[in-house]
């Protein structure tokens, strides 16, 4: 068996940065990693959105980027989730927060107790949601206050600065960085044999990792097609602020699409996502000159891996940055690659398994985003019509039907979004099950009532004791800088 010895990563964006650091940190020193950090790919990093899931902490650590590094070297802030405003024609507003599994009371999922009592709002029972609305933050620790311990947090980030510590980590960890563009890709028998760069050199490798963004320059050269979906444009700008805002994005539905404000350390990032046909309205609403803008087509490549070339990030799939889905998929793509780094030049087994997993993952993430549109049209505009026209996957139909019928959560193998994400989403969208779990009736009504009265009060009281996100971050960064972390 010939082991693989040379890996080449192509791309200059967030996906390439994260891939290079993670591979360098985890692969054996016998594998040479070369990173062609080119500037030639179309910039689409703004479509990664501005929120990273709670799993980012562990992911980053395994790529040699610990949280203190991220906080000191970038303008990343903490995130409890995303506040949706005016969503759909029903003008729903809720905080789609991160959370560990919701409590099971008397053997019954928490939400059944709510419906038994005719309580429709889940949010008062979710500490991160309340903390997000109040703009406060503190790290949840397992041994810390009980109420906080069930919370989870992610990050709010600017993709153009978030990537920097990954580059530093990759360089420190032996990655050979070539600053050049790919000029020509030489293929033979369904594989890439070499890359010719703008600086004249040619690179050969056993495995090529395509992080070149939506164009997927390597993968598409091998004939892999994209499944066409909706076209979207986006504009991103940063407005400098004195105080750090809430640990929560605010995403407002508009006729042309949506607009999202993300508080970072020194600025508020504004991302406007819209249908290309409604650009003038979107620009007017954006209200600031765009620092980054772009257009993409949502969807995925028919396969993410073919021959000796595997695509990571937008080169493999593009999801709308409505939720943390884009960052979640990027992290999971890199993690999947790490578990399937070929152990020989015959990588057909790895390729098949990677494609199987990546196909399932995409479907499962896509239906979470798609669920946001299983609602009455916000407006009869190109954006909303196109979003609602995409036929929902059968799995989504099952999830919604079961929830509406009896509050049961249908789950499939190893989904990227968890039951609690779905529970919060269903409630946020105002879905009501026709029945609750009858076992909830075993708890005396007065007891349930008392529990439901007390919990939101306890949460509200606790949130009052938490520091403002701004103050917490300032102190944390001062402390980290003193410790020279």
């Amino acid at each position: 068996m010939t082991p693989i010895e040379r890996i080449v990563i192509c791309g200059g964006g967030l996906a390439a940065h994260m891939t290079a650091a993670a591979l360098a940190r985890q692969l054996p020193p016998t594998m040479q990693i070369t990173w062609v950090n080119g500037r030639d790919s179309r910039d689409a990093d703004l479509f990664f959105g501005g929120v990273a899931p709670p799993s980012a902490y562990a992911f980053n650590l395994s790529a040699a980027v610990p949280e203190p590094r991220l906080m000191v070297d970038t303008d990343t802030t903490f995130s409890w989730g995303t506040q949706f405003v005016d969503w759909s024609a029903n003008r729903r507003s809720w905080v789609q927060c991160f959370h560990l599994p919701l409590p099971i009371v008397g053997g019954v999922l928490f939400h059944h107790h709510l419906w038994r009592q005719g309580v429709s709002a889940l949010e008062p029972f979710l500490l991160p949601a309340i903390a997000a609305r109040q703009g406060v933050f503190a790290h949840p620790v397992a041994q810390g206050p009980r109420l906080l311990a069930r919370s989870e947090y992610g990050y709010q980030f600017n993709p153009y600065s978030y990537k920097r510590p990954f580059e530093a980590a990759a360089r420190a960890l032996r990655v050979k960085v070539v600053t050049a563009d790919v000029a020509n890709i030489v293929c033979r028998e369904g594989e890439i044999s070499s890359l010719h760069l703008s600086d004249g050199q040619a690179l050969e490798a056993d495995l090529f990792v395509d992080c070149t963004g939506p164009d997927a320059r390597l993968l598409s050269r091998l004939g892999v097609e994209v499944t066409p979906g909706r076209r979207l444009r986006a504009a991103l700008s940063h407005r400098t602020v004195e105080r750090i805002g809430a640990p929560c994005r605010t995403l407002t539905a508009r006729e042309f699409g949506w607009q999202c404000d993300t508080p970072l350390q020194r600025s508020v990032a504004r991302l406007t996502v819209y249908s290309p046909e409604q650009e003038s309205e979107a620009f007017a609403a954006h209200g600031e000159p765009a620092q980054h803008s772009g257009e993409i087509t949502l969807g995925r490549r028919s396969v993410a891996w073919t021959g000796n070339c595997v695509a990571i990030g937008h080169a493999a799939e593009i999801l709308e940055p409505l939720t943390q889905a884009p960052m979640l998929m990027l992290q999971r793509g890199i993690e999947r690659l790490l578990t399937l780094i070929p152990c020989s030049r015959d990588m057909s087994v790895e390729c098949r398994e990677f494609n199987r997993q990546s196909g399932e993952d995409y479907t499962h993430a896509e239906i979470f985003n798609r669920a946001l549109f299983e609602m009455p049209l916000k407006a009869n505009s190109p954006y909303w019509r196109a979003a609602c026209e995409v036929p929902p996957h059968e799995k989504l139909a099952q999830k919604i039907a079961q929830f509406e019928s009896r509050g049961v959560l249908v789950a499939f193998d190893l989904e990227p979004f968890h039951n609690e994400d779905w529970t919060i989403l269903h409630h946020g969208l105002g879905r009501r099950p026709a029945r609750y779990d009858r076992m909830a009736d075993r708890i005396p009504e007065a007891e349930t009532r008392a529990m439901l009265d007390r919990a939101p009060k306890d949460i509200a009281e606790f949130v009052k004791t938490m520091p403002a996100h701004h103050d917490y971050m300032q102190n944390l960064i001062r402390y980290l800088k003193q410790k020279k972390l």
Binding site: Q26, M31, S62, C343, V349, V408, D437
Partner: protein, 511 residues
């Protein structure tokens, strides 16, 4: 409209487990539960070995472990010892537990594969406390703290399933379940919907219910005989269709293990209880006659037989629908997979758990049944693939049965799984299904499927560090195993020893 009356048909393991769980769950709610069984119909008493999940079932019902063990002649089960499966003369243990800890997200066995290439000959088993305890015949309660090596294994029981049913019968009756003696002779279906309205017993009495749970065994009194649900035959993959069972006297120390020995036309089980040993030969009637099978089993018992042979016929497969109209089939009425991995009671437990989660009301929403059938279908299929693995991961071809498996076309999902393993020791994972990666690893390695490569991440650390870490794990596993008490002593220590003396064969019963 909520369900007020539940009728359970059949009082075997499935029937009484269902009655116990439903009576506990519905305590205090206006639901009556009636169980119809006949003393004249024998129960099969599916598999006497269980999976660790049964402990959740029992503890949810607040059943005391020593009381249960004492009442059912139970012993501890740390896993299954498989003999002669890969090749004649081979043996390995499939434990309930891990093979070493994960290191930076990489499972330990990947490092072990690298150590093998470096010339180390330590068995992977030696990194598994579950296997070590089982081999030494020792046991201690697993630790809760995940940092301790004592937390890395789980356990189940080997017990007398008939006594377990009896134990649960008392539990159920104490919780208000009404047991009715009788045989079902007739059923009345609603003309418009085809729902079962009531069943008539041999003494003329009619029993009405909103929901019927069919635990009537292979024949599926309601699910099949009345509703004609249909059966999906899996004999093409799992051709064994007969079993003969005989208990015998115990010889040797009490081991915390079930044993399965591959034979020319099937396989033989050995299940040690406190007072006797259960034995059986599962075989395919195409390859051996019933008499020859019985004779073979009798000739391969460790002690004198304690009863005459009990013969069973079955067809592996599953009911096309587990839940059809207002009938839910649980146990053998739902399907049958040979007891090679002790899944029969587990599938009963899953059937009950899902029924409670998706409990219908009188409208019987089709979506409830659909979701139940989806979940149970997945459970059955994944168990099937795991069972099939035992038959195909083999080098044996010494009899027509084993040749049959050599020429078999595998289900796609299993073929991919085996391919990913043999290429690089990769386990294709799922979330819903009973057997986790360590189980697959145990069987594949135990039956000589050696990966050609391993996860390159196992090469990330220098060899010296790897060797050092492996030695430390080995040491902690050995120490923990040495510290554990003997299995029989443990049973006495927790007050779970039964009052029955070891059974001795009477002269007239001896073969």
């Amino acid at each position: 409209m909520q369900i007020e009356r539940i009728c359970i048909l059949g009082g075997g393991t499935a029937g009484w487990m269902t009655a116990a769980a439903l009576s506990y769950k519905f305590k205090g709610l206006p639901v009556s539960i009636q169980l119809v069984e006949s003393d004249e119909i024998g129960t099969v008493g599916v598999g006497e070995a269980t999976l660790p999940h049964i402990r959740n079932f029992n503890s949810t019902l607040n059943i005391s472990e020593p009381a249960l063990m004492k009442a059912t002649e139970a012993t501890i089960k740390l896993g299954i010892e498989f003999c002669d499966w890969g090749r004649i003369g081979d043996r390995y243990i499939h434990p309930f537990g891990d093979f070493g800890p994960n290191v930076n997200g990489v499972p330990f066995y990947q490092f072990w594969l690298r150590l093998r290439e470096l010339g180390d000959s330590t068995r992977l088993d030696e990194y598994s406390l579950g296997v070590m305890l089982a081999e030494m015949g020792r046991f201690t309660n697993p630790a809760a703290d995940p940092a301790r090596v004592e937390s890395t294994f789980r356990y189940a029981y080997q017990f007398d399933a008939t006594r377990y049913a009896r134990f649960l019968r008392k539990y159920s009756e104490d919780n208000g379940v009404v047991r009715t003696e009788g045989k079902v002779v007739e059923a009345r279906l609603t003309a418009t919907t085809g729902f079962v309205e009531s069943v008539k017993l041999d003494r003329g009495e009619w029993v009405d219910a909103d929901l019927f749970v069919d635990c009537s065994g292979f024949r599926g009194l309601l699910i099949e005989q009345q509703l004609k649900t249909g059966y999906e035959d899996w004999s093409q993959w799992l051709p064994c269709n007969r079993a003969v069972a005989i208990p015998c006297e115990t010889r040797g120390p009490l081991m915390p293990l079930t044993r399965s020995t591959a034979r020319a036309a099937g396989w033989q089980w050995r299940i040690p209880l406190q007072h006797r040993v259960g034995n059986g030969y599962v075989y395919c009637s195409d390859f051996i006659s019933d008499d020859a099978a019985t004779e073979f089993l009798l000739a391969n018992l460790e002690g004198p037989a304690l009863a005459s042979p009990n013969k069973l016929h079955f067809k592996t497969g599953r009911r096309r629908l587990f839940w059809n109209k207002n009938v839910v089939a649980i146990g053998l009425a739902a399907g049958f997979l040979e007891p090679l991995e002790s899944t029969s009671i587990h599938l009963i437990q899953e059937g009950i758990t899902e029924l409670i989660q998706l409990f219908p009301d009188k409208d019987f929403a089709q979506s409830d049944a659909d979701e139940y059938n989806r979940r149970m279908g997945l459970n059955f299929e994944r168990v099937r693939d795991f069972l099939l693995l035992h038959y195909v991961a083999t080098q044996r071809d010494d009899s027509p049965l084993w040749s049959h498996f050599r020429n078999l076309t595998l289900p796609e999902s299993l073929r991919e799984k085996i391919g990913a393993w043999t290429t690089r020791g990769f386990i294709v994972k799922y979330e819903f299904g009973v057997f986790l990666p360590p189980s697959w690893i145990a069987v594949m390695l135990g039956q000589n499927l050696r990966p050609r490569g391993y996860d390159p991440r196992a090469d990330a650390a220098p060899k010296e560090i790897l060797v050092q870490n492996a030695a430390a794990i080995l040491k902690s596993v050995r120490a923990a195993a040495q510290n554990a008490p003997d299995h029989a002593a443990y049973i006495r220590q927790i007050g779970a020893a039964s009052d029955t003396a070891p059974l001795v064969a009477m002269r007239s019963q001896a073969p």
